[in-house]
C-alpha cells in the first residue's frame, strides 16, 4: 500500500465521520407565557353619573369639576331618558369650552404616536396594543382633517370609556 493510498483511505474515513449519519438535533420552539385577558373583563363596572361627569371633566380640562357645575350637570343628566344622548351633549360642551386642555392639532401631528398613547392612558387607563396604536396613527397620518377634538369625542363616547 502506497502512502498515497493510505492518505486516500484516511481522507475517506474522515469524510465518513463528518458526513455519515448522526443523531438528529431536536429543536423545541416555545413561546413565553403571556397572561391574556379580555379588556372588558377588567372593567366590570359602569361609571355612575357623578363619576362619568367628573372624570370626563378632568380628562378634558385637567382639573376637578367645580361643585356647582357638577350639580347642574347631574340635574340635567337625570332629567332625560336617553343618557347616551345627554352624555354626548355634555362632552361636546366640554370640547367647545376654550379653557379646555386639549392638545392642539399641531401638537398632535408633531408626535401622533405619543398623542395616541397618552389618549389611551387618559381615557381607557391602559396603553394601546400594537394594532390599536397603528390603526389610529395611520388614520391620523393619512387624514389631515382629523383634529384632537374628533379623536377625543370618538374615544369619550365609546363603550370602554363608560366602564371601569
Amino acid at each position: 500500500m502506497t502512502v498515497r493510498n493510505t492518505l486516500a483511505i484516511l481522507l475517506l474515513l474522515v469524510g465518513f465521520t463528518q458526513y455519515s449519519c448522526k443523531k438528529e438535533t431536536l429543536y423545541n420552539y416555545e413561546v413565553e407565557d403571556v397572561n391574556v385577558s379580555r379588556r372588558d373583563a377588567s372593567k366590570p363596572n359602569v361609571k355612575s353619573t357623578t363619576e362619568f361627569i367628573s372624570i370626563a371633566y378632568s380628562d378634558v380640562f385637567g382639573s376637578t369639576i367645580p361643585h356647582d357645575k357638577l350639580v347642574k350637570l347631574q340635574l340635567a343628566y337625570s332629567a332625560f331618558g336617553d343618557q347616551k344622548l345627554i352624555e354626548q351633549l355634555v362632552i361636546r360642551n366640554f370640547l367647545q369650552n376654550t379653557t379646555n386642555a386639549i392638545p392642539s392639532s399641531q401638537e398632535m401631528k408633531g408626535d401622533v404616536a405619543t398623542f395616541i398613547q397618552k389618549s389611551y392612558v387618559k381615557f381607557f387607563g391602559r396603553n394601546p396594543n400594537e394594532y390599536e396604536a397603528w390603526y389610529l396613527k395611520n388614520m391620523i397620518d393619512t387624514d389631515q382633517s382629523i383634529t384632537p377634538e374628533i379623536v377625543y369625542y370618538g374615544m369619550m363616547t365609546s363603550n370602554e370609556y363608560r366602564y371601569y
Binding site: 351633549l89 360642551n93 369650552n97 363603550n159
Partner: protein, 433 residues
C-alpha cells in the same frame, strides 16, 4: 282574457298590493294591527292629590270651568286667593267625551309615586314601594312599543314629568322581556330646559357630517375592541341614531327659544306660569314637534294643599286651564287633530278630614292618608265624535285607575296583543263608541 295574460296581471296586482305601502290620512306608512280607535293618545295626570269634593262636587264653586259645565261661583271665602284666568278654549272639555265622576283609586297607598305607578302600569302596588327601583310590571309605554304593530320608535312614546325624584323610573320597568328596549323617552323639562342647564349644556361643539363620520369610525374601532356595550338599560332608553339627531336638535332649539325669551310666559297668563302650566307647555312642544302616538304628562302643583287649601283651589284652576290649553294644541296640530284621545285622571284624592295647618283665608289644609275620600277621583275620556261617546256623564261608581292602560291599549289597537293575565283592569268601554 288569455290564461297567460290573466296569470301575469294577477301576479302583478298581488305583488303591487304587498309592495306598495299605504299612505294613510294620518301620515302613517302602514296600517297598524288591530282595530285602532284613534292614532294618538295623550294621558294627562291631574295629579298631586285632588278631592272630588273640590272638583266634581264643586264644594268651592266650579274650579274647573274649562273642563266642567256649570257656572257655580267661587266660594267668597277663598276668592281673594284665586287668580282670574281667561279661557284658552271656547267649549267645555266634558262635552267632547265621557266624564266618570266617581272613578276610584281602589287599592294601594295614596302616595303620589305609588299612584302614578298604578296609572302607568295598570297594577296597584300593595307592598312597600322602593323608590329606587323601576316598576315591577311593564308600563304602558312598553306594552305599546312591544305589542303595537308595526313597532314604533321611542320618539312615539313620551313621559313628561313635572319633577325628578323617583319619577324618571316610570318610563320602563324591570319586567323580563320588556324593559328599556321598549321604554319611552323621558323628560323633566324643568331641569333640562332651564337657565342652569343652559349654562352647562347650551354651547356644544357642532361637528360637521364629515367629522361625524370620522368620529363614528373611531368610536366603532374602539367598540370593536371592547365587548361590553353601554346600551339600553344602563344607558336608560336608547334612541336610534336618526332619532337621537332629532332629539339633539330639539334640545338645541329649546335653548334658542328660551334664550330669546319665548318661554318666559308663553301663554301670557296673569301673574305667572305655574309649574303645571310649564310642564304642559313643554308637552305641547313635543306634541307639535314629534306628534307622538302616546304621551303621558303630569301636573302636581295641587299638592300645596298639605299647607295651603286656598292655593290648592287656585292650582286646581291653573291645572284646568292647562288641560284646556293642551286640548287646544292637540286640535291645532296636524295629524293629531280629530285623531287623538285625551284621558285626564288624578292619581289619588285627599283626606276628608283636614290637618291642623290653616291658611290666610281661614281654611284648613288636607293630607292624603288612605281614607275613602283619598281614593275618590274622576276620569275624563275625550276624543273625536264617532270614536268617543260625547257629552256623557257617568255619576255612579264606575271605573278605576287600573282601567286606564287597557283603555289606551284598546284605543291604539294593541290590547289583544298583550298576553292574557298581564293586565288587571278593563277598558272603559262606556266611553267608547
Amino acid at each position: 282574457m288569455e290564461r297567460r295574460s290573466f296569470i301575469k296581471k294577477a301576479a302583478v296586482a298581488t305583488t303591487g298590493a304587498f309592495a306598495l305601502p299605504y299612505i294613510l290620512p294620518s301620515g302613517r306608512l302602514f296600517a297598524a294591527s288591530g282595530n285602532r280607535i284613534v292614532n294618538h293618545v295623550v294621558v294627562c295626570l291631574y295629579a298631586g292629590g285632588v278631592r272630588n269634593l273640590e272638583t266634581m262636587h264643586k264644594a268651592e264653586g266650579n274650579l274647573m270651568p274649562n273642563l266642567l259645565s256649570g257656572t257655580e261661583g267661587i266660594n267668597p271665602q277663598i276668592i281673594g286667593g284665586m287668580t282670574d284666568l281667561p279661557s284658552p278654549f271656547p267649549t267645555k272639555l266634558q262635552s267632547y267625551g265621557t266624564l266618570f265622576k266617581e272613578f276610584r283609586y281602589a287599592a294601594g297607598a295614596t302616595g303620589h309615586f305609588n299612584a302614578h305607578s298604578a296609572v302607568l302600569t295598570g297594577h296597584y302596588n300593595l307592598v312597600d314601594v322602593n323608590l329606587k327601583q323601576r316598576p315591577a310590571n311593564p308600563t304602558i309605554f312598553e306594552y305599546y312599543r312591544k305589542h303595537n304593530s308595526p313597532s314604533m320608535s321611542a320618539l312615539n312614546a313620551w313621559w313628561v314629568s313635572n319633577s325628578l325624584g323617583p319619577y324618571p323610573a316610570l318610563n320602563f320597568s324591570n319586567y323580563p322581556g320588556y324593559g328599556a328596549l321598549y321604554g319611552a323617552n323621558y323628560i323633566q323639562p324643568g331641569s333640562v330646559i332651564s337657565q342652569d342647564a343652559l349654562s352647562v349644556l347650551g354651547d356644544p361643539k357642532n361637528f360637521s357630517g364629515v367629522d361625524l363620520e370620522k368620529i363614528n369610525k373611531i368610536r366603532s374601532f374602539c367598540d370593536n375592541n371592547f365587548a361590553k356595550s353601554f346600551t339600553a338599560g344602563d344607558a336608560g332608553i336608547t334612541n336610534t341614531t336618526e332619532d337621537a339627531l332629532l332629539l339633539d336638535q330639539y334640545i338645541k332649539d329649546s335653548y334658542t327659544e328660551a334664550l330669546a325669551g319665548n318661554y318666559d310666559n308663553p301663554w301670557s297668563v296673569p301673574e305667572y306660569m305655574s309649574g303645571d302650566m310649564r310642564n304642559v307647555f313643554y308637552a305641547e312642544k313635543i306634541i307639535e314637534r314629534f306628534k307622538p302616538e302616546l304621551l303621558v304628562v303630569n301636573m302636581q302643583d295641587v299638592d300645596v294643599c298639605h299647607t295651603n287649601f286656598t292655593q290648592y283651589c287656585n292650582n286646581i284652576r291653573r291645572a284646568d286651564y292647562s288641560v284646556a290649553h293642551l286640548w287646544n294644541t292637540i286640535q291645532s296640530t296636524p295629524q293629531m287633530a280629530n285623531d287623538t284621545m285625551l284621558i285626564v285622571v288624578p292619581e289619588h284624592g285627599r283626606n276628608l278630614d283636614p290637618n291642623t295647618v290653616i291658611d290666610a283665608y281661614g281654611r284648613y289644609a288636607l293630607d292624603h292618608n288612605n281614607d275613602d275620600t283619598s281614593r275618590e277621583i274622576f276620569c275624563l275620556v275625550a276624543g273625536p265624535s264617532g270614536k268617543v261617546v260625547q257629552n256623557q256623564v257617568i255619576t255612579t261608581v264606575t271605573g278605576q285607575t287600573i282601567d286606564v292602560i287597557p283603555t289606551v291599549a284598546k284605543a291604539l289597537g294593541f290590547l289583544n296583543e298583550i298576553p292574557s293575565g298581564m293586565l288587571q283592569g278593563s277598558p272603559l268601554d262606556q266611553a267608547l263608541v
